[in-house]
């Protein structure tokens, strides 16, 4: 049976989007994710599509329950992001948004490693334009670094796939052993995309440099594709628990002192990814459900937060905490949506984060990882602190910066409103989301214990913030760069590479002089006949040209008749 891959609708449909104009174009690009979603929805469970290339049979479409959840949320995200980007005249950005979303969907629907690799790479390639489109020197350089890191991840994945295929004889994308050389490389490749500690810098470096809409778009896909890939290939790998814990814990310290509010959000993104990675590491049905559900909710509230910050950046041209404040007066709706996003990421009861994160926490507790659970609890308090309070507080409240601007454009407000509604809907009616999850479990988030303890945690965190601010102990927002792991490649690494290259270039020049001298003496001899003054390259009298061709033809004919 022929089943059209929904990803192709978005990818191929994106190309005409570059040509259309005006309202027709807006309708068209909004319709694409809807069409694609309908195609996904009508695909029967277990649909497959195959394609043979280079002697390998690719499974370009393989629909299972886990891929279905991710495909659904990617579609919702694509629609919201397109809606959010309608204000911009930059058609390139909208086109790559569609292609990027299509690649993300293609990746989670991929049944084999090679298809996955192709979609991963295509996603990297399309997404980088969202960074470059900001057209500043900083974003240009950051985009380049981003692409290089993605290509490195791609090369690791490629090598891993080849090794894995050699040892296992299959390219099917399924559970793998990270202990084999192939498995280890694939694990590392996913790790880069998922922003494992020390491999995370591309994220923090590049995302805040993207355009207003670009950062929102970027936040939705790449890392969640990686979470999906980890959940498919490495569920239950214990080391992921410890990696995930580090991811939840270290970024919150940076988030506290970071000034660029979109960068604060990227640090908090790593923290949230950490929860998902821990869930994959635990690997029980509850944990994997938790991971999928948390990814689902996370995409929505993270997009909502990035959208509100994008609106601020669009209207004020600033994004540093030190420059902002008091914006609730000018942008009340945006402020309201931002607070909803903040409440969701902080996992307040009745908001989406509450019903998803708790599954992961519960799974960790059930497996008896006491330390891990405590770290996650600390991280939960921390995330409320910087995403839940710091972001809305420094942008919209704090001291009045005196900036008065317009409220965000209508299309942006619509997108934010929709995202906000979804955040609350999931929080209030969690069973709708649970029904989509890969495993059947009877999980109930709203228990007295759970609600009370969560409220205690959150309100006493808020109390701590209030107390610190009123005591003047809270670190002020400062214009600065905070060193992170990227220092290693941006300072000493760069110095090393530059020096190595310089010496190679000088060496080559020296060799060139020597070779040239050698070839010149040979060339000069030949030159007498062939040079511009020679027989072969004068501004020829045409007669001699005729002679030459006649000669060649003659030679040819002699050959021919002799034979």
């Amino acid at each position: 049976m022929f089943s059209l891959n929904p990803a192709l609708i978005l990818i191929l449909g994106a190309l005409p989007a570059l040509l259309l104009k005006g309202p027709l174009r807006a309708v068209y690009i909004l319709l694409l994710p809807v069409l694609s979603f309908l195609q996904l929805y009508t695909l029967p469970a277990g649909s497959r599509a195959e394609f043979e290339i280079l002697g390998m049979l690719l499974t370009t479409l393989h629909l299972d329950k886990l891929s279905f959840v991710f495909a659904v949320i990617f579609h919702i995200a694509a629609f919201l992001l397109i809606l959010y980007s309608l204000h911009t005249r930059d058609r390139l950005q909208q086109m790559v948004t569609l292609i990027y979303a299509g690649c993300a969907i293609g990746a989670v629907l991929a049944g084999d490693l090679i298809t996955l690799f192709i979609y991963f790479e295509a996603a990297a390639l399309s997404s980088v334009f969202l960074i470059w489109s900001r057209r500043t020197p900083a974003s240009y350089a950051a985009g380049m670094r981003y692409l290089i890191v993605q290509v490195i991840s791609g090369l690791l994945l490629l090598t891993g796939i080849i090794l894995h295929a050699r040892s296992s004889g299959s390219i099917e994308f399924t559970q793998m052993d990270p202990g084999t050389p192939g498995g280890a490389l694939i694990f590392l490749a996913f790790g880069i995309k998922c922003a494992f500690p020390l491999l995370h810098n591309w994220l923090v470096d590049a995302y805040p440099q993207a355009t207003v809409t670009g950062t929102v778009v970027l936040s939705a896909f790449t890392t969640k594709m990686a979470v999906y890939a980890l959940a498919t290939a490495f569920a239950g790998t214990e080391i992921l628990i410890w990696i995930g814990l580090m991811m939840t814990a270290f970024p919150i310290f940076y988030a506290v002192i970071e000034n660029d509010l979109r960068r604060v959000l990227t640090y908090s993104m790593i923290n949230q990814l950490g929860f998902m990675v821990v869930g994959v590491g635990i690997g029980t049905e509850l944990a994997l459900n938790g991971t999928a559900a948390h990814a689902f909710a996370h995409i929505l509230y993270k997009a909502l937060l990035f959208m509100s910050m994008g609106a601020v950046l669009l209207r004020t041209g600033r994004i540093n905490g030190s420059d902002l404040g008091g914006l609730y007066k000018s942008m009340p709706y945006t402020a309201g949506f931002c607070i909803i996003g903040a409440a969701s990421i902080s996992a307040f009861p009745l908001f989406s984060g509450f019903v998803t994160k708790s599954m992961i926490m519960e799974a960790v507790a059930l497996e008896g990882y006491t330390l891990a659970w405590l770290v996650l609890l600390f991280a939960s308090a921390g995330v409320f602190h910087h995403s839940g309070i710091k972001i809305p507080y420094f942008a919209f409240f704090a001291h009045d910066s005196g900036i008065r601007c317009k409220e965000a454009p209508a299309s942006m407000l619509c997108a934010m409103a929709l995202a906000a509604v979804l955040c609350i809907y999931i929080g209030v009616f969690p069973q709708t989301l649970y029904a989509l999850l890969p495993h059947e479990i009877g999980y109930q988030p709203y228990t007295m214990t759970h609600v009370t303890t969560q409220l205690q945690l959150l309100f006493f965190s808020a109390l701590a913030f209030t107390w610190l601010v009123r005591q003047g102990l809270y670190p002020p927002e400062l214009r600065s760069v905070n060193l992170d792991a990227d220092w290693f490649y941006r300072k000493p690494g760069r110095w090393l590479v530059e020096h190595a290259m310089r010496s190679i270039v000088t060496g080559e020049q020296r060799m060139g002089v020597w070779i040239k001298r050698l070839s010149f003496s040979a060339g000069t001899r030949l030159h007498r006949h062939h040079g511009p003054q020679g027989l072969l390259a004068k501004t020829w009298p045409t007669g001699s040209m005729v002679l030459w061709v006649a000669f060649l033809l003659g030679v040819y004919l002699i050959f021919y008749y002799v034979y």
């Binding site: 280079l54 690799f117 192709i118 380049m144 040239k516 070839s519 030949l526 062939h530």
Partner: protein, 489 residues
């Protein structure tokens, strides 16, 4: 139809005929250019016919017997057919393009230009269909000589000096090393014919095999290995269509085609592997690949940067042969095709930029993308392909090459491929990106109304080849199937 198969010399005759027509119509530019285009299309059709008729390697078709074991002879086999198809197909595009380019830059001596272009293609066809080493050698030299007037086309002192390096290195290496290797092979094997399993099995062992292979590879200067690659940047003095077809496709690919042909049909992949005959050359090619990429990064002149990029990419193919492993060699053969599409597009774009703006340096391109969106978009697509990113055609050949290096456990080679990929990104992408994403330099006249998209005759070929880099990604399978038997007998 069998007539076509029996008269392979038609492949030489058609371009020569085109050359004759060019001469005939030397005073009527329209007809002169039309006849060049006509010959291109005719040749392409002829080669596609051959492809359609091809079933198995044809019997050798001798033109001239010099002695019992020395002859000028042609035969049909997949590798040569693919190369001929590639060169003839891209010739059509290049002819269209050069019509736009040469008139746009008001170049002179066009009759000479088109004539030698045709002769070069004839020589390339001779290489593609050569049935033995001697024939290959003869046409290899003929190609060098017939491209020389194209390199020195501008007749400036700079062009002359470039031409001297070009001729000196190519002829010098071929006579010193290639010819020597050829004679040794003749003495050892008693034949120069290309055979499916090679001809050296049982008569050349150990160090002798290593030396012989090394001599061959150094002798094929057109494959641009360290240290004999300087001719390629020197040849960049030529008009851009020449650089595009000859120095991105025909001449350089004739070099690596010879490398593959000799590896497969004179040595045999299995023999190469058992004798470890390609060990030295493997490391030389790896070094060339990395060094040339680094040099490319340091070049601000656009065509020079592309030339060094070509040198680096040619080494991919030599590595493919030198790994002595079917998947790798097949990857090398595919790389001839995949790289050709990417690189010819890059040169077309460089030429289009030059035609419109007269800019030759990368640093001058800031902000030009808004004036020439198609040219720079095509440039970016082709750059992605050359880097080897999916979904572009260049990724398949790179895939097979990497697979080969993993299979043979040459992890250093694997690492070098990875390093080269990153360097490719670093030197190719900024060219297209700065045009779109960096603001124009106020000191330059980028914003002047005179600067607009390139003429259609330039634009159509470059868009077509750029689109091919993307579309052929999905249609690589027939090519793969066609070449597969060559390396997996």
């Amino acid at each position: 139809m069998n007539l076509l198969l029996q008269h392979l010399e038609l492949a030489l005759l058609i371009p020569l005929l085109g050359g004759a027509l060019v001469l005939l119509f030397r005073n009527r530019p329209r007809l002169r250019e039309a006849s060049s285009l006509f010959a291109g299309i005719l040749l392409f059709l002829y080669v596609t016919q051959l492809l359609g008729l091809y079933h198995e390697p044809s019997p050798v078709h001798t033109l001239l017997n010099i002695s019992a074991s020395l002859s000028i002879a042609f035969h049909l086999e997949p590798l040569g057919l693919v190369f001929a198809l590639l060169a003839s197909g891209l010739w059509v595009f290049t002819t269209m393009y050069s019509i736009g380019y040469m008139s746009g830059n008001s170049e002179k001596n066009l009759t000479r230009f088109y004539l030698f272009f045709s002769v070069s293609i004839a020589a390339t066809m001779g290489i593609a269909f050569a049935a033995n080493l001697f024939t290959l050698f003869i046409f290899y030299e003929a190609l060098t000589l017939s491209t020389y007037p194209l390199v020195t086309h501008k007749q400036t002192s700079e062009a002359r000096s470039g031409g001297r390096v070009y001729l000196g290195l190519l002829l010098g290496t071929s006579i010193m090393f290639f010819l020597t290797a050829l004679v040794i092979t003749w003495i050892r094997a008693g034949t120069l014919d290309f055979m499916p399993e090679g001809v050296l099995e049982g008569n050349t062992q150990g160090l002798a095999a290593v030396l012989l292979f090394t001599l061959f590879m150094l002798g094929i200067g057109k494959a641009a290995l360290l240290p004999f690659y300087r001719w390629l940047p020197a040849a960049m003095i030529a008009p851009t269509p020449v650089s595009a077809l000859l120095h991105a496709v025909a001449v350089v690919k004739a070099g690596v085609f010879s490398v593959l042909k000799i590896s497969v049909y004179t040595f045999g992949i299995d023999y190469l592997a058992t004798q470890e005959a390609s060990g030295w050359i493997l490391w030389l090619a790896v070094a060339t690949m990395v060094v040339a990429s680094i040099i490319a990064l340091s070049k601000d002149n656009l065509k020079a940067r592309l030339a060094y990029s070509t040198i680096s990419q040619l080494s991919y193919i030599v590595i493919g042969a030198a790994l002595a492993w079917p998947a790798a060699a097949l990857g090398g053969a595919l790389h001839i095709v995949t790289h050709a599409f990417g690189k010819i597009t890059l040169f077309f774009c460089a030429g289009a930029i030059y035609t419109v703006t007269k800019y030759t340096r990368v640093s001058q391109l800031n902000g030009l993308g808004h004036k020439m969106p198609f040219t720079f978009a095509a440039f970016l697509l082709a750059a992605f392909s050359v880097i080897g990113l999916p979904p572009f055609i260049g990724s398949w050949s790179k895939w097979l090459l990497i697979e080969g290096s993993v299979d043979t456990q040459h992890y250093v080679v694997l690492f070098a491929f990875a390093l080269s990929t990153l360097l490719n990104c670093a030197y190719l992408l900024p060219i297209g990106l700065r045009a779109f994403f960096k603001p124009p330099d106020p000191a330059q006249a980028v914003t002047s109304p005179g600067i607009q998209e390139a003429p259609l005759a330039c634009l159509i070929p470059l868009c077509a080849t750029a689109a091919a880099t993307l579309l052929l990604f999905f249609y690589i399978q027939p090519l793969y199937d066609f070449l597969y038997p060559v390396f997996n007998s």
